[in-house]
Symmetry: C2
Subunit: 138 residues, 2 copies
C-alpha cells in the first residue's frame, strides 16, 4: 500500500496519458491524479489546479509526489515552487513511464531512498537497444 | 531540417500524447508518427504496424529513430528486434518529453554523437527539484 499521493503534472494531455498508460502496465493506480496545463492556461491558474490536486496543508496533510514531464517547463516550475515551500511535497521532473510505474508500486515512505531509486530507475530506463544488449552481454 | 524519421512507440495512447505534447513545446514536428499498442493487440500485429510506420527497406530507405516508452515492454521488444536486423533503425527506450523534443529538433545525422546526446538529455532531464536547485547553486 502506497504511503503518498501521486500527482502527474505536465503539458496538455501527457499527464493523463502517462497515468492511464502506467495503469495498462501495472494495474489500477489509487490516490493518483493527472493535472495537464492547457495551451492557453496561465501559470497562476495552473498553480491553483496543482495546489487543489496536491491538497492544502492541514486539510490533507499526507505526502505528495509530483511527477513532471519536463525540467524547466511551466508545470515543473510551478510544482518546484510549491515543493520549495512544503516539505511534504516532492517534485521530480523528466518522468518517463518507468518512473510513474515504479512510484505507483512503491510501498516505502516518500523519503530519500525512494527518491534516489526513482531517479535511478528513470535514468537507467533510458537506453539504446544495441548498447543495452551489448552491456547486458558483457 | 531533420535527416531521419521519428516513430514514437509505446503502450496505449502514450505515443500519441508524447508526440502531440512535444509539438506544444517546440512547434509542429514533421516526418513523425506515433504507434500505440492497443491493450488487446498481439505483438505480431504490433510488429506489422511498427514496420509500416518505419517504412520497409527499399521503399523508404531513410534512417528511423524509434522512441519507445518502456525498456522491456512489448513495443520496445518489437522495435529492438527490428533495429537489430536493420542498421538504419535506431531504437531508444524510456523516452521522456525532453528526448522527444531534442530528437524532433535535431539537425545532424542519426549516428553515435546524436544518440549519446539524446541519452544524456533524457537522463539529466530526470531530476528532483531541491537536489537540482542545490546542484545548480554549487
Amino acid at each position: 500500500m502506497r504511503k503518498f499521493r501521486i500527482v502527474v503534472a505536465g503539458h496538455g494531455a501527457l499527464p493523463e496519458s502517462l497515468l492511464a498508460t502506467a495503469e495498462l502496465v501495472c494495474g489500477q493506480i489509487g490516490d493518483a491524479v493527472a493535472v495537464g496545463l492547457a495551451p492557453d492556461e496561465s501559470p497562476d491558474r495552473y498553480a491553483d489546479d496543482l495546489r487543489a490536486a496536491i491538497g492544502r496543508d492541514g486539510a490533507e496533510p499526507g505526502d505528495v509526489l509530483v511527477l513532471c514531464d519536463l525540467l524547466g517547463g511551466t508545470p515543473y516550475n510551478v510544482a518546484a515552487a510549491i515543493s520549495r515551500r512544503s516539505p511534504r511535497v516532492v517534485c521530480l521532473a523528466g518522468a518517463n513511464l518507468a518512473v510513474v510505474v515504479e512510484a505507483a508500486l512503491a510501498e516505502e515512505p516518500l523519503a530519500d531512498p525512494l527518491i534516489e531509486r526513482l531517479l535511478e530507475v528513470g535514468r537507467t530506463g533510458i537506453a539504446e537497444s544495441n548498447r543495452h544488449r551489448a552491456h547486458r552481454a558483457s
